[in-house]
């Protein structure tokens, strides 16, 4: 396989999500969220059907506020201690998951399995709000414990992950909170890594790759791409900006994004 330069401009990488069925964003709460991509989506009015986030924070709130997604799939929504913003306080379709069910759905997709079983004891509340989930039976167990919820595979069309450093071939070092980013990438048909720093050879920098080149389709240089969240050790969460966001009216969110968040470099 010849050397492949997978770099792409931010706007071109953002366009890949237009009309997609299911898009995942990496990071955790306010750590390494690909907010730069959200900026591009808002600026270009790019919409898609479903957003998958392990913990839905500012990025989910913004996309809900601007109607950028039809539904959000997650097990947590909220911008930490500043509470929900205008998007999460407005009407939205949430596909509810537990920590386990979301993980199992992604693992099933990553492994090419149709579903993975979740013991019913873990999932009674989930079953009540997710009638689409079917029961299955553990053929090796006896009694009540044999009932499981069959968590269907959750294939991702495109996963966007923000990294501290990546090379042009797609090897990426995440830094800080690892979140569920490797699993999102494994479950995705297309993986886009945005990064604070682009290098020719990650290994030469002394980093061990969290995401490796066969997994990654595109690399985008996007300094500050997680602001106003954090990307440690380069920058930390900007709390005054977040407080300003949660006080913004829903109708003004698109303008707020374009003005308050630094445009992708």
């Amino acid at each position: 396989m010849p050397y492949a330069d997978k770099t792409l401009p931010a706007h071109a990488a953002a366009e890949l999500a237009r009309g997609a069925r299911r898009v995942a964003l990496g990071g955790w709460s306010l750590s390494r969220r690909p907010i730069g991509m959200v900026w591009e989506w808002v600026a270009r009015d790019i919409r898609f059907r479903e957003l998958v986030v392990a913990t839905g924070s500012l990025e989910a709130d913004i996309l809900a506020a601007v109607d950028g997604v039809r539904s959000i799939r997650s097990f947590f929504l909220g911008i930490e201690a500043v509470g929900p913003g205008p998007g999460l306080k407005s009407e939205l379709d949430v596909i509810e998951e537990t920590e386990s069910s979301l993980t199992l759905g992604l693992q099933a997709a990553a492994q090419g399995l149709p579903f993975l079983p979740l013991p019913l004891a873990h999932a009674e509340a989930l079953r009540a709000v997710r009638p689409d989930l079917s029961l299955t039976v553990d053929p090796y167990a006896e009694g009540d414990a044999s009932q499981c919820l069959a968590i269907p595979a959750l294939p991702i069309d495109i996963a966007y992950v923000h990294a501290l450093r990546a090379d042009r071939r797609g090897n990426a070092f995440l830094s800080g909170h690892k979140a569920a980013d490797r699993l999102l990438a494994h479950a995705a048909r297309c993986v886009v890594v945005s990064c604070e720093e682009l290098v020719d050879d990650l290994a030469a920098c002394g980093d061990t790759a969290d995401l490796v080149e066969p997994l990654v389709d595109h690399v985008v240089l996007l300094p500050g791409g997680a602001r106003p969240g954090n990307c440690l050790p380069l920058y930390e969460t900007d709390w005054p900006v977040l407080l300003d966001y949660v006080a913004t009216d829903r109708d003004a969110v698109a303008d707020w994004v374009l003005q308050a968040i630094p445009p992708p470099a």
Binding site: G78, H177, K178, A180, E236
Partner: protein, 271 residues
């Protein structure tokens, strides 16, 4: 030395956390964080290990509470940084009976059942959030199941929740749900709910007004006073910035407190 409601609650909560092998801090749970770190400090780091979701680390580092720089703080001295899937589906099931965490419900009922966040649906209604932040998993692996309410009233502590997110007693025949509030501590079992101890200065009337009638308020027990040494540890080493007070603030006061914490934490050295 006046003890605040936050300090009173933290002291009681720390007592319930101290017996665990692992304490999970939870996202955005200042009182749980401070109580866990107090238990950790009082045991001089030889008590429970701390799982901190701010960086998904396991740590025994003796550190202070943080609000704005939680991820950095969680990394300091950490034994390991986990990926989320590893912690959720591989570690948590192994911790059954060994892990504790105080969670803050939106509502809790006399049978110990809880719900949390609600979201508005496109048809204008409200919907509880079923699997929020590991509650389904916690209900299965945590005993006793620990809850707190910074402000106990009849809207939060109810006869019957209108939507069940977690029913911690459903799969634990001899289990307990512990509820620590600004007024008292309660115990819920399958046999019923009862007052365990009221905090100093809480009157019969105040307690009755904020408690569902089905709860047995017959106990005369009072919450033990926080020892001076533990109070000093809390104020000076565990939470000198006052992270514990966040959960008692709202509106402009909370806004100002968040900005103040962010500014004060910014000047701290974390390594």
């Amino acid at each position: 030395m006046n003890v605040t409601t936050a300090e009173q609650m933290v002291w009681v909560m720390a007592g319930y956390l101290a017996d665990a092998e692992v304490i999970q801090l939870g996202l955005s749970s200042p009182l749980n964080q401070v109580a866990a770190l107090l238990a950790h400090h009082l045991a001089d780091g030889r008590g429970p290990a701390i799982e901190d979701p701010a960086a998904l680390t396991l740590t025994r580092a003796l550190r202070m509470a943080h609000f704005a720089r939680g991820e950095l703080a969680a990394q300091c001295g950490a034994t390991r940084s986990f990926e989320a899937p590893e912690w959720i589906v591989q570690m948590m099931p192994r911790l059954s009976g060994r892990v504790r965490q105080f969670v803050r419900p939106l509502q809790i009922d006399v049978r110990g059942r809880i719900n949390t966040l609600q979201v508005r649906t496109r048809d204008g209604g409200w919907r509880r959030f079923a699997g929020l932040a590991g509650l389904a998993e916690l209900a299965d692996i945590c005993q006793p199941f620990l809850c707190y309410l910074p402000r106990q009233d009849r809207r939060a502590f109810v006869e019957q929740v209108d939507f069940i997110v977690s029913d911690p007693l459903a799969h634990h025949a001899g289990g307990q749900v512990i509820l620590v509030t600004d007024l008292a501590t309660f115990v819920m079992t399958r046999e019923g709910a009862r007052l365990a101890a009221r905090h100093p200065g809480v009157s019969d009337q105040a307690l009755a007004d904020a408690t569902p009638p089905a709860v047995d308020l017959g106990s005369n027990a009072h919450t033990p006073a926080i020892p001076a040494e533990a109070l000093a540890c809390l104020r000076e080493r565990v939470d000198p910035l006052g992270v514990r007070n966040l959960e008692f603030l709202s509106g402009a006061e909370r806004h100002a407190a968040i900005l103040g914490l962010a500014e004060r934490e910014r000047t701290l050295t974390l390594d």
